[in-house]
Amino acid sequence: MMGHENQGFEDAQIYASREEMESLVLDDDDNNNSGNENNPSSRSNGGANGDGIQHQHPLSSALPFAEIPTTDDDDPLLSSSSPQKSPNSFNSFLEPPSYADAVFRSFDGDHGKQINGHGAASTSSPSSSADYLKISVTDPQKEQDLNNSLVPGGNAYMTYLITTWTNLPEFNGTEFSVRRRFKDVVTLSDRLSDSYRGFFIPLRPDKSVVESQVMQKQEFVEQRRMALEKYLRKLAAHPVIRRSEELRLFLQVHGKLPLMKTTDVASRMLDGAAKLPKQLFGESVVSAAVDPNDVSQPAKGGRDLLRIFKELRQSVTNDWGGTKPPVVEEDKEFLEKRKKLQDFEQELSNVSQQAESLVKAQQDIGETLGQLGLAFVKLTKFESEEAMFNSQKVRAADMKNVATSAVKASRLYRELNAQTVRHLDKLHEYLGVMLAVNNAYSDRSNALLTVQTLLSELSTLNARIEKLEAAASKIFGGDRSRVRKIEELKETMRVTDEAKSCAVREYERIKENNKNELERLDKERHDDFFGMLKGFVANQAGYAEKMASVWETVANETSGYAKN
């Protein structure tokens, strides 16, 4: 029940009108209705059907007010007189196999998710069934930051309890908890981006600009808690990232998070200033070279400012220059796939929007049916109380039939919608995945740009060396200063060449990551979307059948009025 109940269909207004419906109808009836609705034994009946507690979830987890099973036998609104509910109330609810199918199908998808977190192809990866990594985020608490406070009273911030259950060997232990704040999550996310270039890394929740101001609000904290949980579960679901050291440190190490914070502090504008420490330590001064190891990282602000400038210049040359850059993205397959994914993303966004409208329309029709039912209930009461003629009593009875059916149908719509939301949520999820894909592709292009930049540098250096050599050879006996310059340049070129090799390796590595991730994505996408489609369709069919039977009963009972 970790947070899933919150993903259900929460609308306070609906809840209120449902209350209205319940109380109004229940007053009317002779049966011991309050017993039926709120009776805890009805819940335990659900659990006692032999399949385990979990199966209660399709109803209860979807809704915040889910204690009410919409069983025909159980429904106090039925005019049938038996006051005692059948012991198999839950089973009879499952009776129409189609409906049970609908409910169970949607549950199956969830069941897998609850173990592996979101986005996992739960049924199709046999290896992951043995090991697990389950995370929950709970218990938000306010804490004071006493160190950095410029403001008396300190900066307050929220921490969350991160609890992990796992049997993965690299963790020492099976259950443990730490406290983390949102800043730590940002750090984790940044470090993962650095270490796993080319991977489709799930995106972390947004920072909120006005965080400190809204922090008091319960709603915001709860939203953030859910978002964090979702994020960590997605990380845990990724086959490579779940094994990362960064994640392990985040989940397990108590106290301060032992990951390097993102620094963008000193912005060293001048090339000279950047080189100064190196000069002092006697390292070779390579005026425009890039430290080979650094090339495996993308260019960031601050010390890499010069590098950024060069890569920018290179990219402009790529786009506008007459000559083709020395290395290009040649992988046609990659280019095709990327275009396809872009199209997919666009259409997906559109579908996601329409799905939202669909959900809203379903919600509205359910609501209106409920209100119509209520209006007829009141009318029924009125006609019964004020009846002066028998015809009125007959009419009141007919009306009551229709009213209760309308209320039933309204509830069915609500349940259907809660399930629909969960299925179609996949669409929104994949929009997030597409963003991760774009990031991975950016990693690739950045790496390529670095390679291209270095190649350009090499060729520039080479040209300069050749020029100097040509000039020097003309002077008899050599030109000491020129020769020295040539030596320097040759050294720079050597270092740059090393850097280039590094960069090329990095680029290839990222390409490989892209490829593997794409395969993984395609497979997961296939499974996830088919699951979504089947679940959605089965749901719609199941609930439609339920509604049909409700209305068929009324139609039969009023068939006497039909025109011949």
Binding site: S357, A361, V537, V554
Partner: protein
């Protein structure tokens, strides 16, 4: 005249045989073929009114005339004047929104309501004998137009007058309910109960009708969003390709198909559930008019009775003084007595008729609503089954595609 026994209020009826005398008497009317006439601001809709009857006062077994909405209004006003105490069937409202006036849906709703209106009159054992009805059903257009424009005299009751009466009645009822006794009111507890019932009923019905109308809209909205969703997911399928793409496309197609079903059901709901509810509301409002008439008649009766008492006093005074005014006074007294008797008779007729009408009304409404409920349930069941079948049929396909 022998009354025809019929429970349906729809248009059409028994086919007229060759020899009317061997048939039980019947009068059935249908309002059909709406046609737009005229241009611009003057434009209006005309309807074909087809009468099939074997009543001797009517011409031939079948007669067709052309009528417009204001003709129906004329008929209703005349009946309301002449048959006090009877609940005159209600008319559909005049349209306030210009744009909507000529929409196909509105025209159809109005046609259906007008058809119901005329048939109810034709089936009512008293109203069907009305001369005005005969005029309406048979007169040529010029006669009809003349009759319509002639109605500026005492018979013509403007809608605003009616509204005033409604308001008076409403305030009077609430006064009585609040316990403020006004002398010129009936103190019949059963009748009070009826009046209260009618007023409250209108509120309840109006609310139900409001939600019914909203439900129609919701069906349309759901249909629209299914269509949009279907289209979008088809595009996604085209972009995706392979098995998954096909799955998306199939789903999209189903979704679009269901959208059509929903629009159809919305229309069915409108015509067969929402309109009958609206009709019910109008009927109750019509009853309020009758209540007002009864109050008027009662007041007249009481006022005359009081006037007579005063006149009696005067008369006795004259008799005692042997005044020359006595014969005049006697004359006036006799006249007043005659008037008073008439007023009393009028009032008592209204009371009697109302008692009969209320029974008939309740029975009629049980039938009408029973049918409306049946159509509502039938429509919803049909829609739900259609939806279930459509999605069910898709599942095996999805199964096959997912494993391919």
């Amino acid at each position: 005249m022998i009354t025809t026994q019929r429970s349906s209020t729809g248009g059409g009826g028994l086919q007229s045989p060759r020899s009317p005398s061997s048939q039980p008497p019947y009068l059935s009317v249908s309002v059909t073929d709406p046609a737009k006439m005229g241009n611009g601001v003057q434009a209006y809709i005309s309807y074909k009114v087809i009468t099939k009857t074997n009543f001797p006062e009517y011409q031939g077994p079948e007669k067709i005339v052309i009528r417009r909405y204001t003709d129906f209004v004329w008929l209703r006003d005349r009946l309301f004047e002449k048959y006090k105490g009877i609940f005159i069937p209600p008319l559909p409202e005049k349209s306030t929104v210009e744009k909507f006036r000529f929409s196909a849906e509105f025209i159809e709703m109005r046609r259906q309501a007008l058809d119901t209106f005329v048939n109810r009159i034709a089936l009512h054992h008293e109203l069907q004998q009305s001369e005005d009805l005969r005029t309406f059903l048979q007169a040529d257009e010029q006669t009809m137009e003349r009759a319509r424009s002639q109605d500026t005299g005492i018979f013509k009751r403007k809608p605003s007058d009616l509204m005033q009466i409604f308001r008076d009645v409403q305030s009077k009822v609430s006064d009585v309910v609040l316990g403020k006794e006004k002398p010129v009111e009936e103190t019949n507890p059963e009748y009070e109960k009826l009046k209260r019932y009618i007023f409250e009923l209108e509120d309840h019905l109006a609310e139900a009708q409001k939600h019914a109308y909203r439900l129609v809209k919701r069906h349309r909205e759901l249909g629209q969003s299914l269509a949009d969703f279907g289209k979008a997911i088809k595009l996604l399928g085209a972009c995706e390709g392979d098995a998954l793409g096909t799955a998306f496309s199939e789903l999209g197609a189903k979704s679009e198909m269901l959208s059509i079903k929903l629009q159809r059901e919305a229309h069915h709901l409108l015509m067969n559930f929402e309109e009958p509810l609206k009709d019910y509301v109008r009927a109750v409002q019509s009853i309020k008019g009758t209540i007002a008439e009864r109050a008027n008649a009662f007041r007249q009766q009481v006022e005359l009775a009081e006037t007579i008492k005063l006149k009696e006093i005067d008369l006795n005074k004259f008799r005692l003084t042997r005044s020359e005014k006595m014969s005049e006074a006697e004359h006036e007294y006799e006249e007043l007595k005659a008037d008073s008797e008439e007023a009393t008779k009028r009032f008592e007729t209204i009371v009697r008729l109302m008692n009969e009408e209320i029974v008939r009304f309740q029975e009629q409404k049980t039938q009408d609503m029973g049918l409306a409920f049946h159509e509502f349930a039938k429509g919803q069941a049909r829609l739900a089954n259609g939806i279930a079948d459509a999605w069910r049929s898709l599942l095996p396909k999805l199964e096959a595609l997912s494993s391919s």
